[in-house]
């Protein structure tokens, strides 16, 4: 074989604009991304054709798990701290400032008010292992009602959203809606996911 000398030029491409763009997009997505709060239960929402997006702020989220457990969460760190103080007064439980601060960054929870203090004093790791029994919504002991009333007192512009699991039974949802209606909340949102081509 004869030696064929291939003239090699190193292919060089100026990637600077592309990199600029990539970083611009990274920055954009990083800033717009909101961390998904970790929830004590995973909920499969039913699908609907509704395409109204849920507002980002002033949301009081009531989660209903598959087994009918009810969880509560509200956004706004300071509102939550205030809420805890108020609900503490109502049930004569004294929450310390430290507990209020912890409650401020807590995501969704589903505990009777009596167990809340103990729960707040657990470490972040231990909290994940706690089996949460759900907030009582019985007619005798409707603590959810108090949570809703006091939330609306702390943040009057709050909107109620129900995030139910598609397999949860209707009676629990009915009880929940009746609780809302009894408190003159006639407008609320049901969180659904996008319809997958039917």
């Amino acid at each position: 074989m004869g030696k064929v000398k291939v003239h090699r030029t190193r292919p060089s491409l100026d990637m600077t604009p592309m990199v600029d763009l990539a970083f611009l997009l990274v920055t954009f997505f990083m800033l717009t991304a909101t961390a998904v709060p970790d929830e004590p239960v995973t909920v499969a929402t039913p699908s609907s054709v509704s395409d109204i997006k849920i507002p980002e702020t002033n949301i009081l989220l009531i989660t209903v798990a598959k087994d009918g457990k009810v969880f509560f969460s509200m956004d706004g760190k300071y509102h939550r701290q205030e809420l805890l103080k108020k609900i503490g007064e109502r049930y004569q439980i004294n929450f310390t400032d430290q507990e209020a601060a912890r409650f401020g960054i807590l995501s969704s929870f589903g505990l009777p008010i009596g167990n809340l203090k103990e729960f707040l004093n657990l470490s972040q790791e231990d909290r994940k292992n706690v089996e949460q029994p759900g907030i009582p919504v019985d007619s005798l002991n409707n603590q959810l009602k108090d949570w809703i009333i006091f939330s609306r007192m702390t943040n009057p512009s709050v909107r109620i959203a129900i995030k139910g699991d598609q397999d949860s039974n209707y009676p629990i949802i009915e009880r929940l809606m009746n609780t809302l209606i009894e408190n003159n909340i006639n407008r609320f949102n049901l969180i659904t996911s996008m319809e997958q081509g039917s």
Binding site: F23, P46, S48, Y170, M177, F188, L190
Partner: protein
């Protein structure tokens, strides 16, 4: 390769000073890799996290003194949401002829559209039974949206209706 090359590099001022040209080229490949990895990650996570919502306005709790509004029973279509995603429905109140359908496109939607054209000013009563699931409720409300039914109400199921479902054996 992504690289920066700076032209010039050391001037030639006063006397010939040979400046040793150190390479100013940095290999940016790992950085770019990382940038794109992050980019992909953020794009994927943001689009997935968008919940929809369905607005629901319930009627106010009736006062004790309020009389229930009177309606022509021939205009009333009752939908009973039963177990296993079944819908039992009938027209009128006295001596109802119960029929069963499902949530598919050819099921309840056709029934609703047909009845709507037959009965002017139709009123729909939705009665979810104890065995029905939350999904059924959302689906039926969705169906109301799709078929553009304006007059519907969610009502508590009565024992009479439960009996009807049992008797129908559908």
């Amino acid at each position: 390769m992504a690289e920066i090359s700076q032209g010039g590099g050391g001037g030639h001022k006063g006397g010939k000073v040979r400046v040793k040209k150190a390479s100013t080229r940095i290999d940016m490949t790992p950085m770019v890799d990382l940038a794109f990895l992050l980019l992909t990650f953020f794009i994927l996570t943001t689009t997935l996290n968008k919940p929809q919502t369905m607005e629901l306005t319930m009627p106010e709790k009736p006062k004790e003194t309020d009389k229930p509004p009177e309606v022509n029973e021939k205009k009333v279509v009752t939908l009973l949401l039963g177990a296993n995603d079944k819908i039992y429905w009938y027209v009128g109140i006295t001596d109802p002829k119960i029929e069963v359908t499902n949530f598919s496109k050819d099921g309840i939607r056709l029934v609703l559209l047909k009845k709507n054209s037959e009965i002017p000013g139709m009123i729909i009563l939705i009665k979810p039974s104890k065995e029905s699931r939350y999904k059924n409720m959302v689906d039926i409300l969705d169906e109301m949206n799709i078929t553009e039914m304006k007059r519907f109400a969610m009502v508590k199921i009565t024992t009479v209706d439960e009996e009807l479902i049992k008797e129908s054996n559908l």
